[in-house]
Symmetry: C2
Subunit: 230 residues, 2 copies
């Protein structure tokens, strides 16, 4: 088996940065499984680089919590813990609710227009059963709201603090009626924005985000191998 890893040359910037980005991507899309052991020497010959940039990349991944470095011993892709996922969901909800409150207070016509367009697209994609495309549009919807706060880094920070959540989402099996529900929830959010109704915008966003954690909770018994026992 060729064990095809990502090639580094498709990116730019310093070598350590490229290794970091490549490994981060592989961890987040579950190509590298939780619990898997990462050997520095193996990574060296797979990627064709020396140990320095790999050490730097692993260090940064470790500070983000995506890998666990056991001193003088081993490095492995970090496993899930349900407590951690619940915590990340709390933080994500805190930020997204604050963002929607800020946006709903005084939305511009352009913002409403862009959200409406995105929502129409979501409906079409669900009708066509293009769930991959819907997933993308869903992410865009939330990212747009975060960027409408006028704070450029908010969406980056919001992602960084819910990395495990994003990774766990990959494990959720598609449920038949869910996309249609999600579109309805998005419509409720948009309606509240149009009405400049801050309170109902907040609660609509809360309700929407709590759907995710309900579907994540059963994961611990479906995939116990990805969760740490402690």
């Amino acid at each position: 088996m060729p064990e095809q890893t990502i090639d580094i040359n498709s990116l730019d910037g310093p070598l350590g940065q490229r290794v970091y980005a490549a490994m981060r991507g592989q961890i987040l899309d579950m190509t590298l499984e939780p619990g898997q052991i990462l050997r520095k020497s193996a990574l060296c010959e797979q990627l064709g680089v020396s140990r320095s940039p790999i050490a730097e990349a692993l260090g940064r991944l470790s500070s983000e919590g995506l890998v666990n470095i056991i001193p003088q011993s081993a490095t492995r892709v970090s496993q899930f813990s349900m407590a951690e996922l619940l915590e990340e969901n709390f933080l994500r909800e805190a930020v997204e609710v604050a963002a929607i409150a800020r946006v709903a207070k005084d939305p511009t016509h352009d913002q409403i227009l862009r959200l409406s367009r995105n929502l129409k697209l979501q409906s079409l994609l669900v009708e066509d059963h293009d769930f991959e495309g819907f997933f993308e549009a869903d992410l865009d919807f939330h990212e747009m709201i975060l960027s409408f706060t006028g704070f450029p880094k908010v969406n980056v920070v919001a992602e960084d603090m819910s990395l495990q959540l994003r990774r766990a989402r990959k494990l959720i099996l598609p449920e038949p009626g869910r996309p249609t529900e999600a579109v309805a929830e998005h419509e409720a959010i948009l309606q509240a924005i149009k009405d400049k109704d801050v309170a109902s915008a907040r609660s609509a966003m809360s309700r929407h985000l709590r759907q995710l954690i309900q579907r994540i909770e059963p994961l611990e018994r479906e995939h116990p191998e990805y969760f740490r026992s402690t």
Copy 2:
């Protein structure tokens, strides 16, 4: 001038970790000034270690935004930007308001007791004009609320996403009446918790946190040398 830097030996753990912690502390308490250039070779002989652990430490500080590494050229302590400070304040408010809402919903007797004790301490310290001690108690008050959510990492994440804010706070000149006001605001928060009044707990926390940004805004013209021009 002896140029006394922190000694590394007072900490434990891997060398890179110690260097990271030491420099992080110095940056956060403004011992290392924004804009100051950090020379790796100079740090090597000051700390008595080689370049590897220093490179690791600087890499982690860079990913936290505390230093700017200009590729192949220089590394400097990052400067402030008012937009960034406003953004961090927004994020901090989002998390702390969500936390207070969760805590106020169903506080335990023990939680109320500990907050009350802390608040009494704050009053005493203000009466004695021990503002240094009050500053500590203030931080404890907020940290306690964050930890009462039951999520262990929330207070760490909340700090990590408002590092510049914490650093900028050091520049604020003490204002005569402010500590007394702060205690009153804390009391309003505690009262809302006792009443299990989620809505007023939220607004009391919001009002309290927005005091800080008002006192930070004039900083840009008082200390233009610490802000980046862009």
